[in-house]
């Protein structure tokens, strides 16, 4: 610093801001190599745009029969309109499909409201406690003049949402308990928790789903059968709990030891200080990674397809087997499903980033 001080002009020259990139044309055409990169990217984009437009619009069939689609090389829009309701709601009785529609709409509305941190309160929790039985009633029926619909006929997007939501709501408390158990001073409890967590995390979800669908019936006493949907749901809960436990553990370990000591000094016993002091703070720090985990689980629920449940991916897949449309609109079906998953996952991802900013708080 001091050696520079005698020549002010030099210092200014040195301090002149470097070209930081991202501004102006130099970011695209600064050097020959960069120019080539830009041109290659532009070519790629142009190609992608050309393929997309010709497939989606120019060569597409907007109105017509399966035969029209077969003859064309573009997208088959009539397929989507013809199979939309099946893809969204599966084999739910056609006349009653307003019920899953209403339930899904209410659910999405409630989730959206619950995403606003300012509205987090006991009232919101109470709202959910009221809403969930209503949603169940809408789906299952059997009261208030609603025809009964067995769970074997539930399907499509509502089922995917349900598997994700119920899975996470049940897995969260279980995961918290597992995380506490893993950090416990009591060796037997710690070992049990570690065994469960590592066992579940070490195997693929599909093996747990297999266990639930094939092995669980074997473990039940004679005459007791568990609903197929419930079995898959239990598998998802156990699987999610192990992963949630590890994230919550990170949050617990990140908490300064002083918090526990202060709570103990106030005379609170284990369950009091854990649930009044430690858990609320630990959870707050791990909300962003938890939301990222939730996105993963929303996608992982597609695995129930393999054990034969009609989740959204499976309704899309079975819709393609319609004899009238077989082999005609395969890409259309999967791309539609991909778009739906993308929108929901991307929204959750954006929300996760928002929360990360929102919760950027320290303890000191």
């Amino acid at each position: 610093m001091s050696t520079m001080a005698n020549s002010g002009e030099e210092q200014i020259a040195i301090r002149a801001p470097a070209q930081s990139g991202g501004l102006g044309a130099s970011a695209y055409f600064g050097t020959p190599a960069n120019t080539i990169v830009t041109l290659l990217c532009l070519a790629l984009l142009a190609l992608a745009a050309k393929v997309a437009v010709s497939w989606l619009v120019i060569n597409a069939v907007f109105d017509g029969t399966p035969e029209d689609c077969k003859a064309s090389v573009g997208a088959c829009w009539p397929y989507l309109t013809a199979k939309l309701r099946y893809m969204l709601f599966g084999i739910y009785p056609f006349e009653e499909q307003w019920r899953p529609l209403t339930a899904t709409a209410l659910f999405i509305l409630a989730i959206t409201i619950s995403c606003i941190p300012r509205l987090w309160s006991r009232w919101l929790l109470l709202g959910w406690v009221v809403l969930l039985p209503v949603l169940y009633l809408l789906m299952a029926g059997g009261a208030f003049g609603l025809a009964e619909v067995p769970t074997s006929q539930w399907g499509g997007l509502p089922l995917s949402f349900m598997l994700t939501f119920v899975g996470l709501v049940c897995a969260l408390p279980l995961g918290i308990l597992l995380a506490l158990a893993r950090l416990s001073n009591l060796p037997a409890i710690r070992i049990l928790a570690v065994t469960f967590i590592e066992l579940v995390r070490g195997v693929p979800l599909i093996s747990i789903l297999f266990m639930a669908s094939v092995m669980l019936p074997l473990f039940m006493p004679d005459g007791v059968t568990i609903d197929k949907l419930l079995r898959a749901q239990v598998a998802i809960i156990l699987f999610a709990a192990a992963y949630i436990a590890e994230i919550v553990r990170a949050g617990l370990q990140a908490l300064p030891r002083g918090q526990t000591e202060a709570a103990q000094a106030l005379g609170l016993h284990y369950w009091q200080y854990t649930f009044l002091v430690i858990i609320p703070q630990a959870l707050k720090t791990v909300i962003p990674p938890l939301v990222s985990l939730f996105i993963g689980f929303f996608q992982d629920t597609t695995l129930v397809t393999i054990v034969g449940l009609l989740d959204f991916l499976n309704t899309v897949r079975t819709a393609l087997r319609d004899p009238n449309w077989q082999g005609i609109a395969v890409l259309e079906g999967y791309l539609f499903a991909a778009a739906v998953y993308f929108v929901f996952s991307a929204l959750m991802g954006a929300y996760s980033r928002f929360l990360e900013k929102h919760f950027r708080v320290g303890y000191d």
Binding site: N34, G202, M215
Partner: protein, 390 residues
């Protein structure tokens, strides 16, 4: 106070006794539930007349497996069928890990490009892969191969000798003969020699402060044994080039649609995660490091290779472990598109024998073992690249 002294509950006032009591209750509950389930299972199995134990492994399998890296006939045992499945799992998972790491690293570095067009394109790539379930992609790739590609007799030549059609991918194959083991040994010797020279050269440079020829010698050591082996043993590389006949492709190695779709899906999915890991690893290295390296006069390539990457690796390796293990586990989705991996073979065995518990337990054990082995290997590497105490 004194009244409760007679009930025995006073013992629970002692923290140590309470702790022991908690643990005893917990273990008792787990044992009781386990015992109850075991009893039910035993009763159910006896009633349904299902065999137990692993005797089935030596019985004749009797089903066909579409991809067999080792010799396998339907007359072989269930045990061998499982081995074929395991080898298929390992093949596709390892290939996906290697390819995914290479692609992911490139994408991760490109994500940090100063060219906004390139970095955004890479962002789109990563987001498209991370926001759509892998299983959906598997179905999509598989159907794209089956339904949109032309039949074999109109196979498209992607590159000379590489054909795609609705029955998969056909690539040139090297004709294997016994002399290749010498070549492989020679390549291995070359790699060892090159590494050894690098270590020696670095040590001597540090000791003497004089420049020691590094890469020219390394390269020579790397290539020389290979060239000698080929010259001495007179080994010729013959390729089996696929040729498009009138009705079918002859020659080459045939990769089935199931394998191609699975490999593609796993590779892309792994690459997206690897890209994010690499990117955050490089970003984690402070700007000061780069500036200091530039101030010392290092070129940008050397800055990356000598300063940024060695440090970034410390941040990158632990999450990389996770994604490798995840790729192994994700390869079990093979069953959805019919690639005969360990899970699919187990599933067939389950259906044939009626025994569910043993095959499931077996493949869970294998995945657990693979996960643990990968973690151990990565932990060893991690310890090597960790910050050395000074």
């Amino acid at each position: 106070m004194s009244t409760s002294g007679f009930s025995g509950l006073f013992l629970l006032r002692d923290r140590r006794i309470r702790e022991v009591a908690y643990q005893v209750v917990c273990i008792a509950a787990v044992v009781a539930i386990g015992w109850y389930l075991f009893q039910n299972a035993a009763a159910n199995l006896a009633r349904q007349d299902i065999a137990t134990g692993f005797d089935y492994l030596s019985r004749e399998a009797g089903f066909i497996i579409s991809e067999t890296p080792i010799d396998y006939q339907p007359s072989d045992s269930y045990g061998r069928a499982l081995l074929v499945g395991l080898l298929n799992t390992l093949t596709v998972a390892l290939l996906a890990i290697v390819l995914g790491t290479v692609v992911g690293t490139l994408v991760g570095i490109a994500r940090l490009s100063k060219n906004p067009l390139l970095s955004r394109l890479m962002l789109a790539y990563v987001e498209a892969l991370r926001n759509v379930p892998l299983l959906l992609y598997l179905f999509l790739w598989y159907s794209a191969i089956i339904f949109t590609l032309p039949p074999v007799k109109q196979a498209i030549a992607l590159l000379p000798g590489v054909f795609v059609s609705n029955s998969g991918l056909v690539v040139p194959a090297i004709v294997w003969h016994s002399g290749f083991w010498t070549v492989i040994a020679a390549i291995a010797a070359g790699v060892v020699a090159a590494f050894a020279w690098r270590t020696v050269a670095t040590r001597r440079r540090i000791a003497t402060g004089k420049a020691v020829p590094g890469w020219p010698v390394s390269l020579t050591l790397l290539v020389l044994p290979f060239v000698i082996a080929i010259a001495v043993f007179d080994i010729r590389f013959e390729f089996d080039w696929p040729e498009l006949g009138r009705f079918r492709l002859t020659g080459g190695a045939h990769l089935k649609p199931e394998f191609v779709a699975l490999l593609l899906g796993l590779t892309l999915s792994a690459s997206a995660t690897v890209a994010e890991i690499v990117r955050s690893g490089i970003l984690a290295i402070g700007k000061g490091q780069r500036e200091a390296a530039q101030a010392l006069g290092l070129s940008s390539g050397r800055t990356m290779r000598l300063v940024i990457l060695p440090q970034a690796l410390r941040v990158i390796v632990p999450p990389l472990t996770n994604i490798y293990v995840t790729t192994f586990k994700n390869s079990s989705l093979a069953i959805a598109i019919g690639y005969p991996d360990l899970v699919m073979v187990s599933n067939t065995i389950m259906n044939q024998t009626g025994q569910a518990m043993e095959p499931i337990a077996l493949f869970m054990l294998v995945y657990l073992g693979l996960s643990l082995a990968t973690s151990l290997l990565m932990n060893w590497y991690n310890a090597r690249v960790a910050l050395q105490g000074r």
